[in-house]
């Protein structure tokens, strides 16, 4: 029985933790970046390219790169922390920091969603901003009451896709931590993989895959139900 397996619950908890942090953080950073990169400044295409590039780097290469960045002894992150007098944690080798490390790393790849937000921003009619300016709205009010509501369909799309991706989170954990330390990064898909290919329990793994499918469908359905309340299609 799946429910009698403590590792099943560990994996489920880990994936919910990751989804709850990485998806909102990805949306926040993606939207913020898109807003910044929507400015009519010189060389903007270079900036856009620079922020988009990490998202097309193969996941395994990115994972290896971050293993070096987060290396507790010789990694760039801890070296920078040492400059300001902070002794950084052991990151991926720490049970407390391993999941946050992967969440931080996920922000590195927001370039893909940033591009979609950018397209969404370009789609917002200029007349709405002009009307807001006439009404005396300042920059923050224009973002809050024009940009974000008009961007909600794109945010909704990225939220659904991000959650589906988060529930299937696998490669980074497989390459960087192998589920450790102490199962702290044992995500659902990783546990499914171990059951199938390490313990050769294909039936069990198949049952886990069905549970994942139902979970993803359920969460997606909930999101679709909720969209009436917060997604504006400009109709």
């Amino acid at each position: 029985m799946l429910t009698r397996d403590p590792l099943f619950w560990t994996a489920l908890t880990n994936v919910f933790y990751y989804a709850a942090l990485a998806v909102p953080l990805g949306i926040a950073f993606g939207v913020a970046l898109a807003l910044l990169l929507n400015s009519p400044i010189r060389g903007i295409s270079i900036y856009r390219t620079a922020f988009f590039l990490p998202s097309i780097v193969p996941v395994v290469a990115t994972s290896v790169l971050w293993m070096w960045l987060l290396n507790p002894q010789i990694g760039l992150v801890n070296m920078l922390l040492r400059v300001v007098g902070v002794e950084g944690p052991t990151w991926l080798a720490s049970t407390a920091w391993s999941k946050p490390s992967l969440v931080i790393m996920s922000v590195w790849g927001v370039g893909g969603s940033m591009l979609i937000y950018l397209a969404g921003l370009k789609d917002i009619p200029e007349s709405l901003y002009e009307a807001a300016v006439v009404d005396g709205a300042n920059l923050w009010q224009r973002v809050r009451y024009v940009t974000l509501p008009m961007l909600t369909p794109v945010i909704f799309f990225n939220l659904v896709m991000g959650l589906i991706g988060a529930f299937q989170y696998f490669t980074q954990a497989y390459v960087m931590t192998g589920g450790g330390p102490l199962d702290s990064t044992l995500f659902y898909s990783l546990q499914l993989f171990f059951q199938a290919f390490r313990y050769l329990k294909l039936g069990y793994a198949s049952a886990m895959a069905w549970v994942l499918f139902v979970l993803v469908v359920g969460v997606t359905a909930l999101l679709f139900r909720s969209q009436k309340r917060w997604v504006h299609y400009g109709r």
């Binding site: 290396n71 010789i74 720490s94 330390p181 102490l182 290919f197 050769l200």
Partner: protein, 455 residues
């Protein structure tokens, strides 16, 4: 837009279309050419009249060449069978599926802990049923205890090893001399090993580790040294939380605490990888380290000038000499194999049951530890040990009755992962050694119960 502009655009579009077509045609032509010139079909039988023995293994590159040579030698040695080897990456799952589908290989080389799991599912042929009782009795007497144990499950013999792995301590004589220790007299007890390790640790002014004297890892290898075991052969049950096992883990935790486990992790994270030429022992990051016999050849290849020695693990007071854990490569015969006689002949040939001198040659090709004293004692193998004197510590240890293998339960891989988890939980101070082993025992028992329910 004027007509000329439209014409220019349509001409450009046609050219682009032709360029795309050209790329596809070139790719297709290259593919066809590859089929005729570059593609090598699986090698047909070199001896068409003979009975085919399909042999799957998981070795690649240079290792696959060694396997090919062994198969060629077998094929040349007789005129009835032909072994056809095939590298099958991810071979465990594929073999299991092929067995379930009724078309397995006749023989398979394995190193994953699959014997109990597969035997429990009737996916393996018991090799003892292929031998007359006298031969089986004789074989049991000749195989080293660990070699025999790794192939056994519920009274039957399923896997014949072609090379085992043993762990011993590698140490740097120059580091010993530097702190006033005599490298010619390696510590004979665990207590003396701890004292030597304490002298060998090096720190900078800020207390950061510069060199590790010795930090024990791998609980499975230490449990036998303390006189413990994960398995009670009489009752045929797991004994993960056996007091001796707890004692071993307590000692490991004590050593980790003394040098602050987090600090050790931090130091190790900054070291190169553990692979071959970049093994940190070579750079002097460790004065003593527990590792396997394969490092001897690697050191000869990548650091021929390195001054190092090996020694068996010293026991604590009341512990066992020449003790440790072992795993290895072994040949299995899936249930439903079509040519069992041919596969068994090949197994006997490779393992050297009928001709130790010949097998000794194969073992030296692969740098493998022999499975019987008769192979270890052959002039050929002794020459190999003379060439690599540090290999002797491993050969001597493998012969010991105190070498244990993973308990023969049908959830070996899971059990192994839980033992590793318990070790880590204790080293990190999450649970006490006793609690950690109790939890591993409880989870493994639950897994075993699930297996019974699932049958």
């Amino acid at each position: 837009m004027d007509g000329e502009g439209i014409q220019v655009r349509s001409r450009a579009a046609r050219q682009a279309m032709w360029a795309v077509r050209g790329v596809f045609i070139a790719a297709a032509a290259a593919g066809i050419l590859w089929l005729f010139v570059g593609y090598h079909a699986p090698r047909p039988q070199a001896y068409p009249g003979r009975e085919k023995v399909v042999f799957w293994h998981m070795w690649t590159s240079n290792w696959a060449q060694v396997i090919r040579r062994i198969c060629d030698r077998f094929n040349e040695s007789q005129d009835r069978y032909e072994v056809v080897p095939l590298t099958v990456v991810g071979g465990s799952l594929k073999t299991l599926i092929a067995t379930a589908g009724g078309d397995p290989p006749d023989c398979m080389a394995q190193w994953e802990q699959v014997i109990p799991a597969w035997a429990e599912r009737d996916a393996l042929t018991p090799l003892d049923t292929l031998m007359p009782p006298d031969e089986w009795r004789d074989l049991q007497g000749r195989l080293y205890p660990a070699v025999r144990a790794i192939g056994m499950y519920k009274g039957h013999f399923y896997g014949l090893s072609t090379g085992m792995n043993i762990w011993a301590i590698y140490y740097r004589p120059s580091h010993f001399r530097e702190v006033g220790l005599d490298p010619d007299h390696f510590p004979e007890t665990l207590e003396k090993l701890d004292a030597a390790a304490d002298k060998l640790f090096k720190f900078d002014a800020a207390g950061h580790i510069l060199r590790i004297g010795f930090i024990p890892r791998g609980l499975g290898g230490w449990v036998p040294v303390f006189g413990g075991s994960f398995w009670d052969p009489a009752k045929e049950e797991l004994t993960l939380a056996n007091p001796k096992n707890v004692e071993a883990l307590e000692w490991m935790v004590g050593r980790a605490k003394k040098y602050d486990f987090e600090r050790v992790l931090q130091f190790e994270a900054g070291l190169a990888t553990q692979y071959e030429a970049s093994w940190p022992f070579i750079s002097g990051a460790y004065s003593m380290v527990l590792d396997g016999q394969w490092r001897v050849e690697q050191l000869a290849r990548y650091a021929p000038e390195l001054d190092y020695r090996t020694a068996p693990i010293p026991p604590p007071a009341g512990g066992r000499m020449l003790a440790g854990w072992s795993n290895g490569n072994f040949l299995v015969m899936p249930a439903g194999a079509k040519n069992k006689a041919g596969a068994w002949a090949f197994m006997r040939f490779w393992s050297g049951l009928d001709h130790p001198e010949r097998a000794a040659e194969f073992y030296t090709w692969g740098g493998w530890l022999p499975i019987t004293a008769s192979i270890a004692d052959t002039p050929r193998y002794q020459q190999y040990c003379d060439k690599y004197p540090e290999f002797r510590a491993f050969v001597r240890t493998l012969a010991s009755p105190n070498i244990q293998v993973t308990p023969p339960v049908p959830v070996q891989a899971y059990l192994q992962s839980r033992i590793e988890w318990a070790e880590e939980a204790a080293l990190r101070g999450r649970l006490s050694p006793h609690e950690a082993l109790e939890r591993a025992a409880k989870e493994t028992h639950r897994e075993l119960e699930n297996l019974v329910v699932g049958k």
